[in-house]
Symmetry: C2
Subunit: 216 residues, 2 copies
């Protein structure tokens, strides 16, 4: 095994370090964030930093870096208080990745990439019709992380749109069956294959697999 220490990392060329460090947290969810500007221009951005904060109330966080390609997304979220999270499936990987290009603020990525806006009564932000799992979000808090000037956006899930075929009786949603992709690093997309679901673990019992029975 090779050991790469803090000084090796500090001395890496910037783009190489970005590729390397972005690989280290493990696999990440592949999501498209949908927003609308105050002028009514829809926006999409691929984001791999969505994470779970809590189930009750249902909260998700995401890290956004100001002054980068997500600047329109961040501004729209601040001005409208709403956004959507749309899982990226195999069929829309290339369009989703293309959304990370620097389109002008007055261009809608939906139009440029050929994705379809889906409206909802629960949020004003646009859903991606081609996505199989769509979340409507209301901003609850935005915190500046002083350590590196990124922003932590905390939102509450106010709607979930999905197919009940992927929903198990115990609440588990089979995102693999839905075709949701994973991301590694900055730019690698992966499909998944279930290794196993496991029952709640106890100290003195062997762990055991549980079935995934969807369609509830």
């Amino acid at each position: 095994m090779k050991s790469i220490n803090a000084s090796d990392i500090a001395n890496m060329e910037q783009r190489k370090r970005a590729n390397f460090i972005n690989s280290l947290s493990g696999f990440k969810g592949a999501n498209l964030i949908g927003t609308t500007s105050v002028d009514g221009i829809d926006n999409l951005a691929v984001v791999s930093s969505v994470f779970h904060i809590g189930a009750n109330p249902p909260l998700l966080g995401m890290i956004m870096r100001p002054h980068t390609v997500v600047r329109d997304t961040l501004q729209n979220i601040k001005q409208t208080g709403e956004y959507t999270i749309n899982h990226i499936g195999r069929e829309i990987v290339e369009q989703a990745h293309h959304s990370s290009a620097r389109f002008d603020s007055n261009q809608s990525e939906f139009t440029e990439l050929g994705l379809t806006v889906l409206a909802s009564e629960h949020v004003k932000a646009p859903y991606v019709a081609e996505s199989n799992i769509r979340l409507g979000m209301q901003v609850q808090d935005i915190q500046l992380l002083a350590i590196n000037q990124t922003e932590l956006v905390i939102g509450q899930i106010v709607e979930v749109q999905t197919d009940s075929n992927w929903l198990s009786e115990d609440g588990y949603l089979d995102i693999e069956a839905a075709g949701s992709m994973a991301i590694s690093g900055l730019d690698s997309y992966h499909s998944t294959q279930r290794f196993g679901r496991y029952a709640y673990a106890k100290p003195n019992e062997k762990v055991r697999k549980i079935d995934v029975v969807s369609g509830k």
Copy 2:
């Protein structure tokens, strides 16, 4: 498509809601957090909430809920300022999941689960020898998220231990080749299959795949 709104979510039975909401952020990294108590007892906990905050300095965050099975991990991090993040590979999925059981504070999950402590000169916290990608972390900040009383632990990467066979010239680390697993929901483990790596996207160019050439 089915629409599940805020009131449907609020009315779900607690365990069902936990399974459901934990499925929604998409795939997550499968990591074992290694710590040592001030009394010298090693601890392991499976955590699926590690996320990227920044590359320079190299920072990762994770969300921890006090008073749960990770209470020992969180206390050790606060008292020692250090922890390790160890990718969970296929070979150690069952042991890793077993670490989520409520072992006593004076039991080491390493001993109970048959995993091997690996020491390093860069961090005092223990690595998992069976893991193929191991990160040594120093705490930089711990923030209480007032919205639901969870804690955001921000750490800086001070060492990366891995095999150079998985490292590309451009810095990308092939975590799929290393066997790192993804998690969905609370308890489902998945292997991955690369769909494609894509070059930096530009507005008026078709996206194109790039090769993964490791071993640098």
